[in-house]
Symmetry: C2
Subunit: 455 residues, 2 copies
Amino acid sequence: MEPIKTFELSKEYLESFRIGIEEQQNDFILESLEGVNVADIAALLDELNLEEAIYVLRLLSHETAADIMIELDEVSVNKVIREMEAIELASLIDEMDSDDAADILILMPSKDREDVISHLQEKEKSANILDLLRYDEDSAGGLMAKEYIKANQNWSVIQTIEEIRRQAENVEKIYSIYVVDNKQHLLGRVSLKKIILAASNTKIMDIYEPELISVPTHMEGEEVAEIMRKYDLESVPVVNAKNKLVGRITVDDILDLIREQSEEDIQAMTGISADVEESDSIWRISKARLPWLIIGVVGGLMGAQIITFFEEGLSKYIALASFIPLVAATGGNVGIQSSSLVVQTLASKSVFDDSPWQRFVKGLLIALVNGIVLGLFVFSVVKFIYGFDSIFGFTIGLSMFFVVLMASFMGTVTPLVLDKFGVNPAIASGPFITTANDLLGLAVYFGVAMYLLNL
Amino acid sequence: MEPIKTFELSKEYLESFRIGIEEQQNDFILESLEGVNVADIAALLDELNLEEAIYVLRLLSHETAADIMIELDEVSVNKVIREMEAIELASLIDEMDSDDAADILILMPSKDREDVISHLQEKEKSANILDLLRYDEDSAGGLMAKEYIKANQNWSVIQTIEEIRRQAENVEKIYSIYVVDNKQHLLGRVSLKKIILAASNTKIMDIYEPELISVPTHMEGEEVAEIMRKYDLESVPVVNAKNKLVGRITVDDILDLIREQSEEDIQAMTGISADVEESDSIWRISKARLPWLIIGVVGGLMGAQIITFFEEGLSKYIALASFIPLVAATGGNVGIQSSSLVVQTLASKSVFDDSPWQRFVKGLLIALVNGIVLGLFVFSVVKFIYGFDSIFGFTIGLSMFFVVLMASFMGTVTPLVLDKFGVNPAIASGPFITTANDLLGLAVYFGVAMYLLNL
């Protein structure tokens, strides 16, 4: 066995695979996919065109095809489900866990969706899927699966093993067995290890652990992820408002969620307005990038108006123009740093957060330190290295000081305000805050200059 | 049972807890921590001073104290291990998994570390810990634990259950049982579910799954995380160069790693040079922020030199000064967008990445689209709304176009070069790229202006 049994997808292999499809060499196709992980097959199908992908899916067993469908990227899935007949799709959905089935069905128009669900073999599965479709996709209810093992507290170990046997095909990974009372209220959990090591007539109520973290259906996915990370959980039971067990979330779904969210944050911070990747089309990427660029340009054009307003003074003291980029850039850099720290704190939601007032005072003190250091540094360079007179050096240094203070303030307050209004605060680290700081910085700079230099 | 059994840490509770410690009300302390998750107790101790935290740790059982130690933040752990005697620390380490023990011991000077290890009760554990300490902290070898269940392929199910019983105390979460041959080569895995459902005289070799993803000891943690996410693994076996099983990595360690890395990336992007949080001291935060700010300021001062060089032309056409911030800001925004897309691609490492040349052509085409749109937009505003003449509008529009092209190029190339040299490419989305783009933008702007306006 190789140390990592992942699949090598070279462009050469892709080419030969395509030829295999074109020439309908089914044996070659099946052989070359033998033992390959479904995630790797999905990555391969993502690179094929629709007809080719569907050809391969139809060649494989329903179970394998279903597992691959779950791993396809959203663009591919969307195309595949539009191409397949309701009855064919239903035969694949029959093989999926309820949460994966719901994730795919949610992509369809509701009429088609009902059509597929009506073709499902198992009554229980269709009921489960319909139940899951009610929840918001990003909530605990939308993330949970209906496949898990639960045991009544009055059962014996042997009864529980029977239940595991009955569900063995439906529940791929067990982790914990959830313990409920007669009314389905969640009481606790018992690990498979304990089941194995206990005598077969032991009652579950005597071995289960009552300490158990559960999450309500309405909890946001992000919060679920943070709880699972903090408490080292590989699965967490989901309960409804009456504390009845309704599903469970497993850590693999959370890993995907965390990755998506960190990508979203970074895109928000860097001014890319939609979920794009380098491999998307040129037009799609341009469209995702232009909105924030245009906002930045409009800000720059407004900045031009501000400078034009001070044009008379500027023409008397032309050296002022040279330091415009310095002032603007520092404002942007300070603003991004401040907002990034606040965004980080908002994401981790510590129980002992400082009050807004303490935060404000602390931010002010840090800004004072940074402002004094940078102001003095700039004053020294302008006076002693560039050889300007003291009053001009003082003008630039003092402007720097004020810009640092103001940009810190903006950078701290903006994400807090955005968060309050339910907007992703990460966008405050992006072009918006930079543009706002540029404008403020210019106003401060020329204000200080006009006053100190008597222009 | 409450839906989420997390601990409410109010400031009032913290106060009463501190008084409890001061007055040595041990019953009150123990009672109020009864049933509280160790992660929450750790968060509480992080807020106490060293004497208080140690007082509480000594009051609890070794097992609980050890679990809490693992969850403390690094600053607190560092203080606690410096305060405790080797023998006391050894009694806590005795209760930890080998990977957690190694994470704590690595923080100590090597002399003290040896002292602690010599006091450990179990010979096997000290050997395991010494083994783990050899690996780089961020590699698979540094992340893995020595606690896992392995079964020889020739064993029966009942023998395997005996092994589970023997190891029950050491291995908290089992997930999978790894199957090896007589020479400890990893052959595959068998799930606990299969063990439960199989007859007790079944041979392991008849039920194990030979398809298994493993990672080598030298693999980087980041790559391990990506593999576990992609293949939905809750644990992964680690093998040495000879494919012998040497440890396993569980998903809880990976969740922490992913969070740390996404925080690091964001800090790199926003120009914060060390791992700081809003709750750190003012001095510590300032120190982490100043280096990049100073680099930005030096860039701004160099920009001043560039503008001074064109001062004569500028004084003839003072309106040029007004559009300096526009050009500089757009360069920065475009550069950050481009680099962020590249960094994202580098992180996900798709198997079908475009070649550098395709990437370059595509980036160029996107830049052309964005450059033409923004150039035309700016030209129109400058000429028709601000009322400048055509040649001046054309100067600003053309400068915009060139700046977008150059900033895209810089933003694409810089992270690729940094990655090549093993530097975190995320810093290319930060102040560095912005500063470089500002300078380039200024040079282009004044170059175009001097030429077109005949200055």
